[in-house]
Structures are given as C-alpha cells and as structure tokens.
C-alpha cells in the first residue's frame, strides 16, 4: 500500500544532509512551505544551496533560515525586496553567494530537470550582463542562450490538499514554482492543509501527480481559510499588503 503521509515535519526532513541543494516553492509567501522551512531550521542542516524565486520575506520561512546562517548560496530571480533584510545583510557582508536567474529561465530550468531535458535555448537575457559567459546560439535567425537543468536533492512544497498517493492540488496563484520543483528533486516533501481520501481530489486539477511526491505532512490550515472554505481575515490583509512591491 502506498502511503506518502508521515507523522510530522521532523520525520519528513530527518535525512536532509549538510551541503544539500534545497528547492523551496512559493512566490513570496504564496505557496511558500513555511512549516517545512521551520522544520529545516530545527533539523539543523547547514551549508545549504537554496533555489527559490525570492530570498525571504520578513522574518519567517526562508528569511528565518537565512538569518540563522544556514545558507551558503541562493539561486533566485528576485532577492531584493522591501522586506528582504536578512538576505540583504548577508549579501552586503559577503556571507552568501548569489546566482541570479531570470524568473522564466529559472522555472524552465527546473522543468528541464524534472522532465529529463538535457538543456534548452531561451531568448530571455540575450545581450544582457546575465548572459556573460553563457553559450549563445543562433537558431532560425534569432539568438538564444543555452541553459542547463537545475536539480535538487530535496524539494519543499507548499500545497493545499493531498492524498495518500501524494497527489497535490494548489489554490490560485500559490501553484507557481511548486509543481516544477516537486518534479525536479530527488526527494520531494509537501506540506498540505489537509490530507484527503483517495479519489477526493478532482483528477483534472491535480497539478502535481503523486509520482513526484515522497512525503506528505499535514500542517495548520492557512489563516484565510476555515475548513477548506475561504473566509478572509483582516490580519491576513494587513500582512499581505505589507509585502511591498517585488517580483
């Protein structure tokens, strides 16, 4: 019998090694697996390479991991935000390495890793300083940059609901990088608000088939939902509005 559910976050992350490459889903805090990142903080692995769109918001999630000095290198598209003070400090102090990848290339490189594509050519970034040192190839009259896959040792995924086969659904724009990262890592751990019965998820909207998920942990329901129904909260409003402008 297939049961991806594990009892708690600590069990799900017990084997993360020092020096691991960790893919962390989410765009800002939407779909960001906060409970798993808190677990990684507690677990203690260090010298990590983190692949995530942003480099932490405020003091929670990835920001907390950065603040604790666990991260050797960030691979991301948009580290600098109004509330990325922990990354900013580390970067200015020369205590963290940064590989800056345009967002669409980052997503596509993760997809390449998950789908066995050896590399691909993108038009994004041609002629810019982010293209320096990269292979340029003219194809059908247009210039492209060669890109390699980005693979992870482990992926931390923020989903909405899952079942014991590991099938996942997301809510709205919290999908973002999560399905790509789930497929791009050797081990994939997902946090969900609820583990539901097999067959309860609509098979047409499962954005991550269970084949990509190794471990599933149920965590507290997101603040703006109650029993799976959107309720909204003024608190959430304040918190989300304070994120500032970033991409």
């Amino acid at each position: 019998m297939i049961t991806k559910s594990v009892a708690n976050v600590a069990d799900a992350l017990a084997d993360v090694a020092d020096g691991a490459t960790v893919l962390i889903g989410g765009f800002g805090l939407a779909g960001h697996p906060i409970a798993l990142i808190d677990g990684l903080l507690e677990q203690g692995a260090r010298d990590l390479t983190i692949v995530s769109n942003n480099a932490g918001n405020g003091d929670t999630g990835l920001a907390a991991l950065l603040a604790a000095g666990r991260v050797r290198k960030m691979v991301c598209s948009f580290p600098r935000q109004s509330d990325s003070w922990h990354f900013d400090r580390l970067y200015r102090a020369g205590e963290i390495e940064l590989e800056l990848v345009p967002q669409g290339n980052l997503a596509e490189r993760l997809r390449a890793a998950g789908s066995g594509i050896g590399g691909f050519y993108t038009p994004t970034g041609v002629g810019t300083e982010l293209a320096e040192g990269q292979e340029v190839r003219e194809i059908e009259g247009r210039d492209y940059l060669f890109q390699l896959p980005i693979r992870g040792d482990i992926a931390l995924i923020g989903a909405w609901k899952g079942d014991r086969w590991g099938n996942l659904i997301y809510r709205e724009t919290s999908r973002n990088f999560n399905p790509l990262m789930a497929a791009a890592a050797r081990i994939t751990v997902a946090q969900v608000d609820e583990v539901v019965e097999l067959g309860a998820l609509d098979p047409e909207s499962i954005a991550t088939p269970g084949i990509y998920v190794d471990r599933l942990v149920q965590v507290a329901e997101r603040p703006w939902m109650r029993d799976g129904v959107f309720v909204g909260t003024p608190e959430a409003a304040v918190s989300a509005a304070s994120e500032g402008s970033a991409s």
Partner: protein, 214 residues
C-alpha cells in the same frame, strides 16, 4: 497639450491605446496604475506572471486572500473566466509571444528600443531581475511607461543605455510625461507632445527626433 502629464494622466493616456480584447501584462510599479484607467467598454485581460490570466481589481480589505496575489505580491482578485497555471506555463505564455502587450517601467530606454530597468549597476546594490527580462520580450508590443527625466534631471530616454540592459531592441513605444515616442527603424518618432516642442525635446535629450502628425 500645454503641460507635462501627471502620473495619473500618463497612465490614463497609455490606457486609451490598449485595444479591446488584448491580453496585457502590467509588470510591477508604475505600470500597474494602468489597470485602474482602462477605458470603459473594452474587455482587456490582465496576465500576471506568477500564474494568473484574468486578474481583477484589489479585494476589499476583509477579503484579502494570501493565495491570490500579483507579480508585485499585492493581493488581487480573479475575474470569472480566470485561469491558474504554474510558473513555467506562465512564462511560456510570454516567451511564446502570446501576449498582446507588456507595459514596463524604465531606468533608461534607448532610441533603438534597448531597455534598462532592472539594475543601476551600483557597486553596493543588490541585483534582482525577477521577470523583467522575460517581460521585455514577452509580448507583441512592449510599451515603456516612465517620466522623461530621472529625479536628478537626466533624461531616461537616451541614445545608448549606460545601465545594464534588460532587453535589446525590445521597446516598441515609449510613454512619458512630456511626449509619446514610437520606436522605429529610423529612430524615435514623437507622436504626441505635452507642454513642449520637438526642438526643446531634441535639445533636452540630445537625440535626433522625428515628429509625426503633431
């Protein structure tokens, strides 16, 4: 018009040129103002690259949904007919040339359509590119929306960008508070002037300009 446009007037002016039925990405920052000034009676679909087509206005304060945000990470809503997709599909949509228009801000934009809007290249600045380079080539039309002059008074419309580029030759039109320019193979063509003359502009920008039906 007899004076430079306010930011609201500028966003409103650009919005008038967005055609019925277009799919548009408004980037982050100033261009997002365009959303509030789209003309009545036109159905214009907004794309946000974090994975939503059919974005609606901001929610009421007590209806904010942390799962439903735009590329600027601000809370938004979704219209009936909206769809969600992951980041690779969303950027495929842009890179594949399926959007009609991207509207982008600028640090500098050149007479040949080169755009610089992601980094000032400062030694102490933290680089962050996000979706800017994808957006710069992510649509049939790329319109730049910006003040003509930077805060220090230097022109943002230039012969050659000194800041690191976001995209080469990507801008097709430039909307500023003093003039609207079409980027053509023969250089910039000013199609509208606001409180200035073509000659004044040429002196200010130190660029040859063409006028069109002014």
């Amino acid at each position: 018009m007899s004076e430079p446009l306010s930011r609201t007037a500028l966003a409103t002016r650009l919005a008038q040129d967005v055609e019925d039925g277009w799919v548009v990405n408004l980037g982050i920052g100033l261009p997002t103002m365009v959303a509030d000034h789209l003309p009545e009676g036109r159905e214009i679909l907004l794309h946000t690259e974090n994975g939503l087509l059919g974005m609606g206005p901001s929610p009421a304060p007590d209806r904010v949904d942390g799962d439903l945000i735009n590329a600027g990470k601000q809370p938004v809503t979704a219209l009936p007919g909206a769809s969600y997709f992951h980041t690779a599909d969303s950027f495929g949509m842009m890179r594949g040339g399926h959007l009609d228009l991207c509207v982008l801000g600028a640090f500098q934009v050149s007479a040949t359509g080169d755009l610089a809007n992601w980094s000032t290249g400062g030694a102490d600045s933290i680089p962050a590119v996000g979706g800017a380079m994808d957006l710069a080539r992510g649509a049939r039309e790329v319109w730049v929306l910006t003040d003509l002059l930077a805060r220090d008074g230097t022109p943002k419309v230039v012969g050659h960008c000194s800041y690191p580029l976001t995209g080469v030759g990507c801008a097709t039109r430039i909307y500023t508070d003093r003039a609207i320019f079409e980027v053509t193979p023969d250089g910039l063509v000013a199609t509208e002037l606001f409180g200035t003359t073509l000659e004044e502009l040429e002196n200010l920008l130190q660029l040859p300009l063409k006028g069109a039906s002014l």
